[in-house]
């Protein structure tokens, strides 16, 4: 028993890790590889290297069939020569904007309540904490609720932003709270106030800037999750530019395999870019629980 445990325990546990990581990551790698292939019907994709899938997905080339390619909108007109217009892919830009809107609301609602729970003692605090950190309503249910409560607004950008902000608020609260909990909040607040700063001023000029890294990582996590939110968007979205997650679903359901792979790969690129941004801010990635 003893020998068995010593000999096989660790390799077995390590094996589970390796197999699972392979299961999680191999399809990601294959998708990226496949997005550059002309066709994918055999064991492995074939016909390298083509950028046609990417170009079609991004709406830079005409695609065949029923799917619309992604539209391009003018982003800014640069004052170069006769005016150089910078174009941006519509779905991408739309999703970026929606998610940013959600993050803004999250900042306004999430940072204060995280501070209230981390800093003060009050009746019902445990419930306030539970409600603010637990994602209580799943996207589909919230979608149904929005359709009923706000039949006109729910399908609009505004409806999507408000919905995202409620769905992702717990992640903001948790990230900020774990940062707050590593700070001597009471002493910071009291020091600043003893020096003559009013409480609102203390909160804005001392507390919030000191929790900067937690707030930034919370914002990035919320942004990624809002950009990827499918369930809620699917239920409430009616017409117009599609949020990114719906755009992905359109390709996965209707496009050729390689083109779907390109669409999904594009999404991976966004996630990786965000993750790198996150690490650049020197925070702990998705580890919002604090260590």
């Amino acid at each position: 028993m003893t020998a068995l445990s010593r000999r096989f325990g660790r390799p077995a546990v390590t094996l589970v890790l390796l197999v699972t990581v392979t299961f999680l990551i191999a399809p990601v790698a294959l998708t990226i590889v496949g997005s550059f292939a002309r066709e994918w019907t055999g064991v492995f994709p074939a016909g390298f290297v083509t950028f046609r899938n990417w170009a079609e997905v991004l709406g830079l080339a005409d695609s065949i069939g029923s799917q619309r390619s992604m539209g391009w909108d003018p982003l800014v007109v640069l004052p170069v020569g006769d005016g150089l217009t910078l174009m941006a892919p519509a779905e991408l830009l739309f999703s970026v904007g929606l998610a940013l809107g959600g993050v803004l609301i999250n900042l306004v609602v999430g940072v204060p309540i995280a501070y209230a729970v981390s800093r003060y003692e009050f009746r019902g605090k445990e419930w306030v904490n539970a409600v603010s950190v637990l994602p209580l309503v799943p996207g589909v249910i919230l979608g149904v609720a929005f359709l009923r409560a706000y039949p006109v607004l729910s399908g609009t950008s505004f409806g999507l932003i408000v919905g995202y902000s409620l769905l992702k608020a717990p992640f903001m609260v948790m990230a900020v709270q774990s940062e707050f909990e590593s700070m001597p909040l009471r002493q910071l607040e009291e020091s600043a106030r003893s020096l003559g700063a009013s409480w609102p001023r203390t909160f804005l000029t001392v507390v919030v800037p000191n929790a900067r890294s937690g707030i930034v990582s919370g914002a990035i996590i919320c942004w990624t999750l809002a950009a990827a939110e499918f369930n809620f968007s699917y239920v409430v979205w009616a017409k117009g530019t599609q949020p990114l997650a719906l755009f992905l679903q359109r390709h996965i359901s209707n496009s050729t395999f390689t083109k779907a792979a390109a669409a999904v790969s594009m999404f991976f690129c966004i996630v990786v870019a965000i993750t790198l941004l996150l690490q650049a801010f020197g925070t702990r990635g998705f580890d919002t629980r604090g260590t």
Binding site: P184, S194, S198, R201
Partner: protein
């Protein structure tokens, strides 16, 4: 700087009484220590003066101004914490200048003032550093400079040295004591460390269980403790039972003159230095435990009546022999009473 008057303050949280009937006066320029075990109410008292707690009853006044209901930010107080609580989003200089910025002092002036204070505290030249890059001792000095920069009416120090190592603590203690005296700062100094309170403070208020047990100079508190708690908390105390009759204190193993002490049963505090080893001594004792401390040996001995007392012995003269003879210095004894009221003095054996 101002005179601080705490009058009959009582603070109740839900059902627990944190402080009860605390009245203290800190004259202008004095450093008053609040000394006691954790949970004795010393921090609550400090926070009441700071304004972070509003007393349930009683008042706090700076000079003649009642500040009981004035919010902390309008009180003009300096606050130094054990954890330093420096603002990591600002440089050292900005930390020190923060209070002046809140008062609308122009940038050039507040920078000059910050430099001046950092210089005064011996950490000039650190102005542009990030607080996280400083050592604990340096951070504590920055915290102090920041609190002093606003020329507070009273400086409140909450266990400011607890996080520092022993050697640094001793050095900073001396420096801080001199500096505060020089600046003529009125200060409340909360600590659980009696050595720190003794060396830093002009007077000490010993607190226990929400009450002030005794207020006095370090020497008074040590030599003439008001009751057994104070005797035991400040320094080492041997509490002995005795009877006073006809101006003589009978301790059972020894009789000493005690003119002026109230007749009847008495509780007597004898510091370790009241006993002295002496081969001609009249009290034979048995050494039951000895701990070598370098410059002295701390010993527990059993008196003829089986009472155990702690005293110091000279390592040079100490032999392995368990039997030692002692003499008792009657002038170093202090008759007190365990049931004595917190603010009354115990009777003292006249010298």
């Amino acid at each position: 700087m101002a005179r601080v008057t705490i009058d009959s303050v009582r603070k109740v949280y839900d059902d627990t009484v944190a402080v009860e009937n605390v009245s203290l006066t800190v004259p202008d320029g004095e450093i008053l220590g609040l000394l006691g075990p954790s949970g004795c109410g010393k921090t609550t008292t400090l926070r009441t003066v700071a304004g972070f707690e509003t007393p349930t009853e009683g008042t706090v006044a700076f000079d003649d101004e009642d500040v009981t209901h004035v919010p902390p930010e309008d009180r003009n107080i300096g606050l130094v914490f054990q954890t330093y609580a420096l603002f990591d989003n600002m440089t050292v200089g900005e930390n020190v200048a923060f209070g002046l910025k809140m008062r609308g002092v122009d940038p050039a002036k507040r920078r000059a003032r910050a430099e001046e204070l950092l210089e005064l505290l011996g950490i000039g030249g650190l102005s542009d550093r990030d607080p996280q890059t400083l050592s604990g001792g340096q951070q504590q000095r920055v915290g102090l400079a920041r609190a002093l920069a606003i020329e507070p009416r009273v400086l409140l120090l909450d266990e400011p040295m607890t996080g520092l190592d022993a050697k640094l603590k001793r050095r900073l203690r001396n420096e801080l004591g001199e500096l505060l005296d020089e600046l003529g700062v009125t200060a409340l100094y909360v600590t659980h460390d009696q050595a720190e309170a003794m060396s830093m403070c002009d007077r000490i208020a010993v607190m226990n269980d929400g009450h002030v047990e005794q207020v006095g100079t370090p020497r008074e508190v040590y030599e003439r403790p008001a009751n057994a708690f104070v005797a035991d908390f400040v320094g080492t105390a041997n509490v002995l039972d005795g009877v006073v009759s006809d101006g003589t204190l009978d301790l059972g193993f020894e009789r000493v003159p005690a003119a002026g002490a109230p007749e009847g049963p008495a509780t007597v505090v004898a510091r370790p230095e009241a006993f002295r080893a002496d081969s001609d001594g009249e009290i034979p004792v048995a050494v039951t435990e000895r701990t070598y401390q370098g410059d002295h040996v701390r010993a527990t001995v059993t008196l003829p009546d089986e009472t155990a007392v702690t005293l110091r012995l000279d390592p040079a003269t100490l032999t392995d022999d368990e039997n030692v003879r002692l003499t008792l210095d009657p002038t170093a004894l202090h008759v007190t009473d365990v049931d004595v009221e917190a603010d009354s003095d115990g009777a003292v054996i006249p010298n």
